[in-house]
Symmetry: D2
Subunit: 284 residues, 4 copies
């Protein structure tokens, strides 16, 4: 990975934003390796992401931030300057299912996913060996069905201790506490095993089977307090037919789930996903 | 198209059905060009479709039907022996939108769709010239929003007069009367402009746009009295992104709608679609 | 369609291009509705396309062009400022097959394709009625297999007479003269009925059938003097299996051909396709 | 997995085959859970695969085989009766790349792939730990570039020792000896990292990048003595654009490679792939 800075901005749309920002970048000597813009006409909102070669800038990240702050204020920008060499800390929550987490761990292990994974937290022990083989701490938190709060609290504490920048629910089958949702707003990614908004909630493959759909899908979205209603980052589908049993749908769906989650996570950690209301801009 | 007979069967599953039917076919000298079977384990039901070269049979269609009847009775079969040389009469109902009907008419005109189209019925005049250029009668039936029943009745009468075997709703935006649904149960095909069961009812593209989905779709299904709830024949999707306005979704969706409807109709008129409850078996 | 100007640029990459161009646009009061950038690292080349609301500019197109010329010179740009209200003239060359041309004509007729079609030229008469129904002149040019040059010359003359900005080969099965290729370099679009570079030349469906591929495709590309070797604009595929005969491949392939050609043509007439060497940048 | 017998047959086509075979199955009390047929009109050849519930048969596998042999002889059948409870032994050959083998191992470990993996053989050591974590022997065979024959011989010996029914080349980058190809004809599966027949041989991603294709793909095929020319089992593609570098193609292609190989292998070990000449029938 080349060392870059990512200047990610969203603000009210008006004439001259690109000019102002790109002039600023040019003034620092910044060499753009990638630049993306989107004007949302319905909301009159503007989004941009500039990827700048670090070695082309005349100053360091902090100095750039200081220099940019007045412009950001003038244009009422929500913005970040992200240093690509500082890896995001991604904490993974898992339950029993292994396909999504195995996929993420392999992508991480082979260098495809440019992040740190400080720990995996699960309410089952079955994935411990796989996680530890990768050199990642495995935190087992038993959930008492009669009283789930202590476990929820423990998981939030662990997430904080490991300083997670981002939380991935890799087929973690538990409801997330509102407090946890809010703390990781726009930074907690779920994979739902249906093509949302079809088949919200439990047992989507059974529902898909019963409805007789000809495609099944998966959806990765940011978690909000409304179950399966958060901003969608990525979706995909696979063709099925009458020949497939409900178990076949589960099996075929796994491949969609893991690839959809992997793409969503990759785009998130590369700062390619910007949220407006309940929708996303994905500069992929 | 080669001249064939299609022996299409559904019945309770038990040992020996394939043997019994294929022995019958072989006894008549029948040369199978295609044979499809499906055992539905959940409902213990069996489906089969045999396509037999007409010139290989020692007797005509009526004699084959007489000879097969006792077997059908023994196995409690719902069945048909369809002569591929007798073209299905497909009546098309349309409103204002032209993309689906233009697509069907071109496929029919170029010989790709092996059916007759005895007439097109519409509550708008704008498609008359296109339909008539194809040499197909165009029946305009004005719908009075204050009193729709006379129009509904007229449309049912026209469909009967033209002896429709099958009715296609090519983006026909009117509710179908229950009586009409029942008369054409399993023979009336709709195209809905969403990936069902997402976005049932009106304005699915607006709903898809508002939800921020990353794929939009279309669904072709048999019409039942429950709006957009009938057995699904075919579905497909296309990728969209934040760059697409609601009008873009409408435009991109048209291509999915017309290809999904064309595939569904083709499979229907080739007797490849069998219905069980609210689901379909499609031997494509 | 909103009235816009499209400022389309390619030039050697260096620091400050975006800043310079977007400052220029902002200085004219230009409101960007869409902006796309691409830096080709291998060739050190930069591409940009800005779409600007016409009513936001303080001057007309000619004045903008004059004002921009010095910047273009400084940065060694190949550039255009295209007025979206001036429709491109697209001349279509066809042979006997109707699927691609019927698709283009319907998209044009229904207002989806924002161009003029001054005429269709064909070496067969069978499409005359369909073309003329759309109100478009049909020019029949008979090709003598023993001496094709007079026909080639006639077609070039007609193309010039009708002032074609762009030529579409809608399954036109004749070799294009080198002189014609050069005259319409980057403006003549072909649809080849295979997934290039597989199955170059004649009978690609037969070749695909013989090889036993599991997907067939189509490719739209700019025509160059090397048969089927020009810059690819768009490709797509469809799944096939052992059940499909060679005729099925031809039938299924038609749907891919027409959608690939339609997407390529749309992107071309919206100035979204930029060529570098034998490759394209497509800002779709 | 239910215990079944798979009766897989290919033979010259003639009237009555299905009747004869299905009567035989019915006479043994055989309950069909799945039945597939294909008549290849070009070669006048017939293919069938019957999956029969083991507990429905009145006799064991050996007795069924004895009883069926005369029928097979009469119809000149190539055939097998496969017991689904006897797991195939799949030996994997790998080099340095981990994505395909990690994917197969996880599918096997999670019970999705119903086979045994008696060993993995590689000319690199880097995958040892991953393979051994799964409880599978790892055989390192160093290949001397100056004299590859001893290594080739060793690999063939190991394959024989471990009694491989099937060999998978999971991005194994070495040429296979003709003798090895012949010994495992129709049982050795390769994954090639292009959409064949495009980009045969080395560096297909570089070739795809240089040609500027808009989709890249992968192909799984049976290995023959002609490099990348064997019968294709499965293919798939993924969309790319000008934004993707050659390294991006490599990364995106990995996902296609592993899913294509997994589907091909699954179909192979479930006896769903039948070969005729250089093409396959895949009853999926």
């Amino acid at each position: 990975m080349d060392h870059t800075y990512r200047l990610v901005i969203s603000c009210p749309d008006r004439v001259g934003i690109v000019a102002r920002v790109s002039q600023f970048v040019a003034d620092q000597g910044g060499w753009l390796t990638e630049a993306n813009y989107h004007a949302d006409a319905d909301n009159n909102w503007f989004f941009m992401r500039n990827e700048i070669r670090a070695d082309s800038l005349r100053m360091g990240a902090e100095a750039v931030r200081d220099a940019f702050a007045p412009i950001a204020q003038e244009y009422e920008m929500a913005w970040e300057l992200v240093d690509s060499s500082v890896k995001r800390k991604v904490v993974i929550l898992a339950s029993h299912a292994s396909h999504c987490i195995a996929d993420i761990l392999h992508r991480w292990h082979s260098g495809e996913l440019d992040c740190d994974i400080p720990c995996v937290i699960s309410n089952h022990e079955n994935l411990r060996s796989m996680v530890e083989w990768h050199g990642i701490p495995f935190e087992y938190v038993k959930i008492d069905p009669e009283n789930k709060m202590p476990a929820h609290t423990k998981i939030m504490e662990l997430t904080a201790e490991y300083q997670a920048d981002c939380v991935v629910l890799a087929r973690y089958m538990q409801i997330i506490q509102p407090e946890f949702c809010r703390a990781y707003s726009g930074r907690m990614i779920n994979i739902h095993h249906s093509f949302l908004p079809s088949f919200i909630g439990a047992n989507p493959y059974q529902k898909a089977f019963d409805r007789g759909v000809k495609l099944i899908g998966a959806t990765s979205h940011y978690v909000t307090e409304q179950l399966d209603e958060g901003p969608i980052i990525e979706q995909d589908v696979i063709r099925v037919s009458h020949r497939h049993s409900k178990d076949d749908l589960v099996r075929l769906g796994k491949d969609v789930e893991k690839s959809v989650l992997a793409r969503a996570l990759r785009n998130h950690i590369e700062d390619r996903v910007l949220v407006l209301g309940n929708k996303t801009v994905v500069f992929d």
